[in-house]
């Protein structure tokens, strides 16, 4: 029973905390551009306004795809450990592979629904998003395999416990942590890699046909995805700690990603693939070699 309460706490934190952070990210970007920027709660207003509008549907595949995306993201966010074994809702299922597979359900639901809208912009956006997934997943998974090989487990809360004795993975394998952070920026869809959602070129890409409530649901889904992506990075590379420390580390990683993204322009799709399959993938393999040889700190 406590597991359910902890999962609900996970979702509540994912909703309020991450959406506030998104607003703060808009504020930070505005300050960098010497603007005042919207208030930090602007994203709450945006979401609830979007939910209050009267949308258009594009058939049941479209409706189902949006719901599947939201459901997949919620299911993944519910099983993410928050910094310690105590704040792990389901200690037997928080396997890295379970999380990656469940997370793919959300992305595929979004892809299905958006292509189901029939708009060419959506189709282009979805194909770009899936290509980008191919780009960042490869170095990320190579780094993750070396982490799991080193500690001989793929359970996230066990990896956190191992880091408590062994030191943060950020210090144990710095190259791997850097590669994972670069992949994280691509996962979040932040600035150099916001190819899928390119408002100026392909009219918001996958979201081209989303109106009103669908847009609100997708923004909530996006918040849960951010919680999963950044939370996983914090758990795997920045060690454990209490719930408060987890949230502080979360804020640090998020603000760093925002600062990087607010000063960079956008890659083209083939530049992104060349980038990810070049230096980060090479560094990921180098990191794996170091782990195999036992050359870690």
């Amino acid at each position: 029973m406590t597991a359910v309460y902890k999962a609900i706490l996970n979702l509540v934190i994912a909703f309020f905390f991450v959406i506030s952070l998104e607003g703060i990210a808009r504020k930070i970007t505005a300050r960098i551009q010497r603007r005042i920027g919207p208030p930090w709660y602007q994203n709450f207003i945006d979401i609830f306004k979007a939910l209050s509008k009267h949308p258009f549907s594009n058939g049941w595949i479209f409706d189902f795809g949006v719901l599947m995306a939201l459901g997949g993201a919620i299911a993944t966010a519910a099983i993410i450990p928050m910094g310690s074994t105590f704040w792990t809702p389901f200690p037997n299922t928080d396997n890295f592979f379970v999380i990656m597979y469940l997370f793919a359900v959300g992305s595929l639901g979004m892809a299905m629904g958006m292509v189901g809208s029939g708009s060419p912009w959506s189709a282009i956006g979805v194909s770009r998003a899936l290509t980008q997934m191919l780009g960042y997943e490869l170095p990320y998974l190579v780094v993750m395999s070396s982490v799991m090989y080193m500690y001989k487990t793929s359970s996230i809360h066990l990896l956190i416990e191992k880091q408590a004795t062994n030191g943060w993975n950020l210090y144990v394998m710095p190259i791997g942590a850097i590669v994972a952070f670069i992949s994280l920026i691509g996962m979040l869809g932040k600035k150099p890699f916001d190819i899928a959602v390119a408002p100026a070129e392909i009219a918001s890409g996958p979201m081209a046909e989303l109106s009103g409530k669908y847009m609100g649901l997708l923004q909530i889904m996006h918040a849960f995805s951010i919680f999963v992506e950044v939370g996983l990075f914090v758990d795997l590379f920045l060690g454990g700690g209490s719930l408060g420390w987890f949230l502080v580390k979360f804020i640090v990683v998020w603000v760093l990603a925002t600062l990087i993204s607010s000063v960079l322009p956008r890659f083209r799709i083939e530049q992104m693939l060349k980038f990810y399959w070049g230096v980060p993938l090479g560094l990921a393999f180098l990191n794996a070699l170091f782990v195999l040889l036992g050359w870690t700190f």
């Binding site: 808009r26 505005a30 551009q33 010497r34 603007r35 005042i36 920027g37 919207p38 208030p39 602007q42 207003i45 945006d46 609830f48 306004k49 979007a50 209050s52 509008k53 009267h54 949308p55 258009f56 912009w121 408002p199 100026a200 009219a203 918001s204 979201m207 081209a208 046909e209 989303l210 109106s211 009103g212 847009m215």
Partner: protein, 178 residues
């Protein structure tokens, strides 16, 4: 005016604080939007943000004169927007035709074709005037007076009749594939 329920009042105050805009940049008014968006005037502090597609937009900015060819596209775009939707007409061109009042291909009064919630006078309005118009529109939405989208539904026959009288037909032909 009809009494609003509490839910509608909350929804209206949310809508007033988060206006996503679609700028239909047909005329000179488009030039005034970049300074309004960027560092000097910064409209994002009011929650006004540009959106790329009509499906997500709340307000449509008609930035200047409209000839009959673009009016068809404007009507299409307006009808694609999701329901509480508002229109701002920029400059004297949308009020009475402005300096194009005797042009054979330009419409004079936008209000005949789609309902306009706020007009900005001037040729062209400065960014200060645009921000003033946004604030005025927010006030109107909060009071529930910005009901252009309801008027368009109620008087659809009248608007359609005006559109057909000026355009012949509203249908947009696909010039490349027909």
């Amino acid at each position: 005016m009809k009494e609003r329920t509490m839910w509608e009042q909350i929804a209206d105050s949310l809508r007033s604080r988060s206006l996503w805009m679609l700028h239909y940049c047909t005329g000179c008014g488009a030039m005034e939007l970049p300074p309004t968006m960027t560092a000097r005037f910064d409209m994002e502090r009011f929650g006004v943000a540009p959106m790329a597609t009509p499906r997500q937009a709340d307000i449509m900015l008609i930035t200047g004169y409209l000839n009959t060819k673009t009016l068809r596209r404007v009507i299409y775009t307006y009808e694609q927007m999701a329901d509480p939707k508002y229109v701002i007409g920029f400059g004297s061109c949308t009020i009475n035709g402005g300096i194009y009042f005797d042009s054979y291909s330009t419409i004079n009064r936008l209000d005949y074709y789609i309902p306009v919630d706020v007009y900005i006078a001037g040729c062209m309005p400065r960014p200060e005037a645009i921000l003033e118009a946004f604030n005025y529109l927010m006030e109107k939405i909060r009071k529930g007076e910005a009901d252009g989208w309801k008027r368009y539904k109620e008087n659809y026959e009248w608007y359609k009749q005006n559109q057909i009288r000026s355009l012949g037909e509203v249908y947009v032909h696909d010039e490349f594939h027909e």
